[in-house]
């Protein structure tokens, strides 16, 4: 990395925005479906605790959605303020995909969110359930379009370049570009795990605080079981995504493995300190021929190394570390979720020990950590390209003075730091308030009869 020139500052600014933004869709995508599940469970069983859980988690949803909307607006502007070259070059492909995201998904979520949040007593019950469904469909469709575009930037397909500008020739190939199915599955599962651990963490915290409400019991159980079911799927999806990257973005995989030279019997580096200047990894702990086995399913398999991409490979250290952080968190999730599921089978929620519940609380935001780490691996791993083989990041940047970018970067940094702190604090505050009113709840059962109130 060179000095902090305006290109690097613009990249840090955009990375900061995307990192901040991605935290909230990661919650709302899966939480939308969880809320629908709670609503349907309530309708099926008539158990009021499901509706209690809904009322608590819909607030978390509203908070996360609000944060997602405002940081999403920021991004749509930063395309223009920071990366005018992006839309000039690939606007013909990126434009329709972004347009469909806003038209089909964003409005759906935003409009029906109002009814989902505040409309329970104003509309017939089925309209409220339908609104919950449409919000969940909207968040997922939103993720679909955005990941289509993002995947296309990694593995562009279905286009030709005329007069230096990209034109789509086959929309089917654009949408179902090579990395799209893997990235979509991997990201949606990441969302599911993030929400499962968020739910498990906050529920465990309430349980430890002495809140024995039926809704805490239900969400704790549902969250642990969801996590236990999703984590093996995620490991498989992640592996397939990795193999897909090997095929289409071998430089990224070489950086992940810190594999400096193309060779057979390539080792699987478990730990080490990659040194890009010396082009070697210090303190390496590796399984001989491990990478060849994992990536080629053959110890003699030749794995491309960084030497195959002179001057055109991503920075090694952040990709290398990001990947290990993501996998490490994933393994912790696996251990915790399966242990919890096994204890639940044996002794129900009472069978969960205090140290285990404390571990769940510590893991409340583990999904965020893994998601961000994975996101950095894939996005930094695409460098120096913005669109692989088509447009470099440097070509797309706007010529702003470094001072201007630095000043606004600082502004965003302060705002985002405050907001993240406030978000986490308010989640625990809400959970605490839930615990505090646990006794009072029984005295004032909420009105559940769906009725149609005229507003006047």
């Amino acid at each position: 990395m060179t000095a902090l020139d305006s290109l690097m500052l613009a990249r840090i600014q955009f990375a900061l925005n995307v990192s901040f933004h991605i935290l909230f869709p990661t919650i709302t995508i899966a939480l939308g479906w969880m809320l629908l599940g709670m609503k349907l469970a309530w309708k099926r069983t008539g158990e009021e605790a499901w509706m209690e859980a809904y009322r608590f988690w819909v607030k978390v949803f509203a908070l996360a959605f609000g944060m997602g909307v405002v940081s999403g607006i920021t991004m749509s502007f930063q395309f223009g303020t920071n990366w005018p070259g992006f839309m000039e070059k690939v606007g013909n492909v990126a434009g329709p995909l972004l347009a469909y995201e806003v038209l089909t998904a964003f409005f759906l979520e935003a409009v029906f969110l109002g009814i989902m949040l505040f409309g329970f007593r104003r509309v017939p019950d089925w309209v409220h359930t339908l609104s919950t469904l449409l919000v969940a469909v909207g968040t997922t469709a939103s993720a679909f379009w955005i990941l289509v575009l993002n995947s296309w930037m990694h593995t562009p397909a279905g286009f030709e370049i005329r007069d230096g500008v990209v034109h789509a020739t086959d929309w089917w190939a654009v949408v179902f570009n090579p990395s799209m199915p893997y990235r979509l599955a991997h990201t949606l599962l990441a969302s599911g795990l993030t929400v499962a651990f968020l739910m498990a963490g906050l529920s465990a915290w309430r349980w430890l605080k002495g809140d024995r409400g039926a809704d805490v019991r239900l969400t704790l159980k549902a969250a642990i079981l969801t996590a236990a079911a999703l984590i093996p799927l995620q490991i498989v999806a992640g592996d397939l995504h990795g193999l897909n990257s090997l095929e289409h973005q071998p430089a990224k995989v070489a950086a992940i493995e810190a594999n400096w030279e193309t060779r057979g019997r390539a080792p699987l580096v478990l730990f080490g300190v990659p040194d890009e200047d010396a082009r070697t990894t210090h303190f390496e702990v590796a399984i001989p021929a491990g990478a060849s086995v994992v990536l080629r399913h053959d110890p003699e398999g030749v794995v491309p190394g960084l030497d195959a991409f002179p001057g055109r490979h991503p920075p090694v250290a952040p990709v290398f570390w990001g990947f290990r952080l993501m996998v490490g968190v994933g393994l912790l999730m696996l251990a915790l979720a399966w242990w919890g599921a096994w204890r639940l089978r044996r002794g129900g929620v009472e069978g969960l020990s205090r140290p285990f519940l404390k571990a769940l609380v510590a893991m409340t935001f583990s999904g965020w950590v893994a998601t961000l780490a994975g996101w950095y691996v894939t996005e930094i791993g695409r460098q120096p390209w913005l669109v692989t083989g088509v447009l470099t990041t440097a070509e797309a940047a706007a010529p702003h003075a470094a001072g201007t970018v630095a000043a606004t970067l600082l502004l965003y940094l302060i705002v985002y730091a405050v907001l993240i702190a406030a978000f986490v604090a308010v989640l625990f505050h809400l959970a605490g308030r839930g615990a505090a009113s646990a006794d009072a709840r029984g005295l004032f059962p909420p009105v559940v009869t769906p009725r149609f109130t005229a507003a006047e």
Partner: protein, 335 residues
């Protein structure tokens, strides 16, 4: 996919769609930004009611901004780059404002009681900052991004006037959606802010032809001058009519309390048509026409198909949401 329209038409259609999205945004987010500006210094109970009146709508309102800027981005990618690069700082300030008010909205209801004051302040300052920044951008756009001192003063004027304009839409919204003492207050606010709004419209109308000989020629030649005369005339009559109406409001039995909101919408629409006529066919003032800046016809066609299907649906379910939350606003409750 083959274009099914003469390719020359597509940029015109998209300019119109973008205009509609921006007009929707200005009126819809205008009322909730305006309500945010008006919350300053109000007693807690009234502040809560004011905010409750916009609760179910603000997310969807801001989505129109994403659509408007999104259409600029996807239909006129080169213009998007030029305009937003030129407006880098006001855009950053607007975004921080929108972020603050958006999250303050959610936080104030959920944070510990002690912090509510801070979130209310963030809601007010965020709303004000966003409105001022948008007004500044309007001024800068009109002056084709000139950065001389008189130009900056003009930007400052449009900033204040657009903020006042939003406060006027906000007050009109409150007249419609509230009653009692709060409604009486809203009538007072509407009267004051309407005067500032009129001043702003006047300033923009005078400045625009003066800075651009091309725009001057578009308005002040025959027969256009006569054909266009209804726009300023109707604007003037509308302002006078609203002032007279507001002197006698609220009326018995809350009759006609929707009139200011309709008037405010009409006022913004007229101003918008005036501006649109001035700038057409340029998307970057005096530099780039919509045809020069447009994306490829194939891409525009594929977006157009989606837009024509989806836009009516969006309008229908937005109307449904407004119908569900019709009537006077009360305290909101979840679930």
């Amino acid at each position: 996919m083959t274009p099914f329209l003469p390719p020359d038409w597509l940029p015109v259609i998209f300019a119109a769609l973008m205009g509609v999205a921006i007009l929707f945004y200005v009126v819809l987010d205008g009322f909730d930004l305006g309500v945010g500006i008006l919350t300053r210094g109000q007693p807690a109970a009234e502040r809560s009611r004011m905010i409750a009146s916009i609760g179910p709508f603000w997310d969807a309102n801001e989505t129109w901004l994403v659509l408007g800027i999104g259409l600029l981005l996807v239909a006129f990618p080169i213009a998007h780059g030029i305009i937003l690069t030129a407006l880098y700082l006001p855009v950053a300030i607007m975004l921080v404002g929108l972020i603050l008010r958006g999250v303050a909205f959610e936080f104030r209801a959920k944070a510990p009681r002690l912090q509510q004051g801070a979130w209310d302040a963030a809601f007010f300052w965020g709303s004000l900052l966003a409105a001022l920044a948008q007004g500044w951008m309007l001024g800068a756009y009109i002056l084709a991004f000139d950065t001389s001192l008189p130009a900056l003063l003009f930007c400052a004027l449009t900033a204040v006037c657009l903020a006042a304009g939003y406060a006027f839409v906000g007050a009109s919204w409150l007249i419609w959606k509230t009653d009692g003492a709060l409604q009486v207050k809203a009538v007072r606010w509407a009267r004051v802010t309407l005067l500032f709004t009129a001043l702003g419209i006047l300033a923009v109308s005078v400045a625009t032809p003066l800075v651009s000989p091309r725009i001057f020629a578009r308005w002040f030649r025959l027969p256009e001058f006569i054909l266009l005369a209804p726009i300023p005339l109707m604007t003037g009559l509308l302002v006078l009519g609203l002032l007279v109406f507001l002197r006698r409001h609220p009326r018995d039995g809350d009759r006609l309390s929707w009139v200011p909101m309709v008037g405010a919408t009409a006022l913004f629409a007229l101003g918008f048509f005036g501006l649109a006529y001035s700038f057409y066919p340029y998307v970057v003032p005096d530099r780039l026409t919509i045809w020069q800046a447009a994306a490829s016809p194939e891409s525009l066609s594929i977006i157009l198909v989606g837009t024509l299907f989806v836009l009516p649906v969006i309008l229908a379910y937005s109307a449904f949401a407004h119908w569900v939350f019709r009537g006077k606003a009360s305290e909101l409750s979840y679930g």
